[in-house]
């Protein structure tokens, strides 16, 4: 738990009336959003306060529903904090071992070529333990969609460094910050995957703010659509907050994501069929002044 129980919450207290929000409004109103996406069986989960993973999972489920694929999808789930959602996601699932989801997805797709097959993995799962699996799956051009929840740490085991941890980032086993000489450099997995012949779509989004969430949802939609068109491998990386693993106060998660992870793993589309963009180019465009 990163939240310091002694920290006093600072809110701007105005004289305004506080509006009752414990039930739907009595005035005539149209419901525009529900607690949970249709494809979630219940809202409860044990993930930490301020974790970005549930936000990403919502998006993914919404897109599946919106594309009419609720009854035509098989998800292959890695091992990480998000695994807790396997009991509440209302799509058919296969639990894979840590790192192994892309191969499992491959086998499923080859036997059910018309189903929407996706993986859900963390950065530890995909870029550490299972790096080879996802690269080979992309090179092979499997028509599956791999979704990466990238928080730059192993959340589940307590916040250790992964292959995407950015330089200087403090983690449980790089307590002075990731040091290039001792720990090496982060891998920009999106760049590696985008350039492979079998990849048709690759993008990197983020859930640190509402605009990021909206953009990320569009990426997920495009990725799934590419798969349904049968083209080849598609990939969406989603930067998610892990205040617990980052040792930052919960509320500072989004800012830390944007300033630290986002300054290296820049968001944007990396490949859309013929168009190929590198992270370096994205960074130059979106953060011309540098991190």
């Amino acid at each position: 738990m990163s939240r310091d129980p002694l920290r006093v919450i600072q809110t701007s207290v105005t004289q305004s009336p506080v509006i009752k929000t414990d039930q739907p409004p009595s005035e005539p109103a149209k419901q525009k959003g529900r607690f949970r996406p249709a494809l979630l069986l219940h809202e409860d989960h044990d993930l930490c306060p301020g974790c970005g993973e549930p936000i990403a999972i919502r998006l993914m489920l919404e897109v599946i529903e919106e594309l009419g694929q609720a009854q035509n999808s098989i998800g292959v789930i890695g091992i990480g904090c998000y695994t807790a959602f396997t009991s509440s996601m209302d799509v058919d699932l296969v639990q894979a071992l840590h790192g192994r989801a892309p191969s499992v997805a491959t086998g499923a797709k080859r036997m059910r070529p018309d189903s929407l097959i996706f993986t859900l993995q963390g950065d530890g799962d995909m870029v550490n333990e299972g790096l080879q699996e996802v690269i080979h799956t992309a090179a092979r051009g499997e028509s599956v969609t791999c979704i990466l929840l990238n928080n730059g740490v192993f959340g589940e085991t307590g916040g250790h460094m992964t292959a995407t941890t950015v330089l200087g980032q403090r983690t449980k086993n790089s307590i002075e910050g990731r040091d290039a000489d001792y720990h090496g450099y982060p891998i920009l997995i999106g760049d590696l995957l985008a350039q492979l012949g079998g990849t048709v779509y690759a993008a990197r989004g983020s859930v640190h703010d509402a605009a990021g969430v909206v953009k990320t949802k569009n990426m997920l939609r495009r990725a799934f659509e590419s798969q349904l068109e049968g083209g080849g491998f598609s990939f969406v990386e989603i930067l998610t907050m892990c205040p617990t693993g980052w040792f930052v106060p919960t509320a500072e998660g989004p800012g830390y994501l944007d300033n630290v992870l986002g300054a290296v793993h820049a968001t944007g589309e990396l490949k859309n069929h013929e168009r190929l963009v590198t992270t370096a180019q994205l960074l130059a465009e979106t953060r011309p002044s540098g991190p």
């Binding site: 004289q15 509006i19 414990d22 739907p24 149209k30 419901q31 529900r34 607690f35």
Partner: protein, 82 residues
């Protein structure tokens, strides 16, 4: 005193809120604030002030599925002390 219009509103599942505060900066008109009270989990939760536009940004960023969003057919007005 001034009048503030709410074009929309929300319901909040207070007892599911883990107090992460992600919704607070996400709200474009800045009409969410954390409570001084604590919920069953022992943490403060968001309270709504007048001026909600029903944009759903809070819902988009909340990791705990605490929000429902409504848009009023006719905006509702509140008197506010500034």
């Amino acid at each position: 005193m001034r009048t503030v219009e709410s074009r929309g509103t929300i319901t909040v599942a207070v007892d599911r809120c883990k107090g992460c505060e992600l919704c607070i900066p996400a709200c474009p008109p800045q009409v969410l604030r954390m409570s001084t009270d604590r919920n069953e989990l022992g943490v403060p939760y968001p309270e709504l002030l007048p001026g909600c536009t029903g944009c759903g940004a809070c819902l988009l960023v909340c990791p705990d599925f605490c929000f429902e969003i409504y848009q009023y057919e006719t905006p509702v007005e509140y008197e506010v002390n500034v």
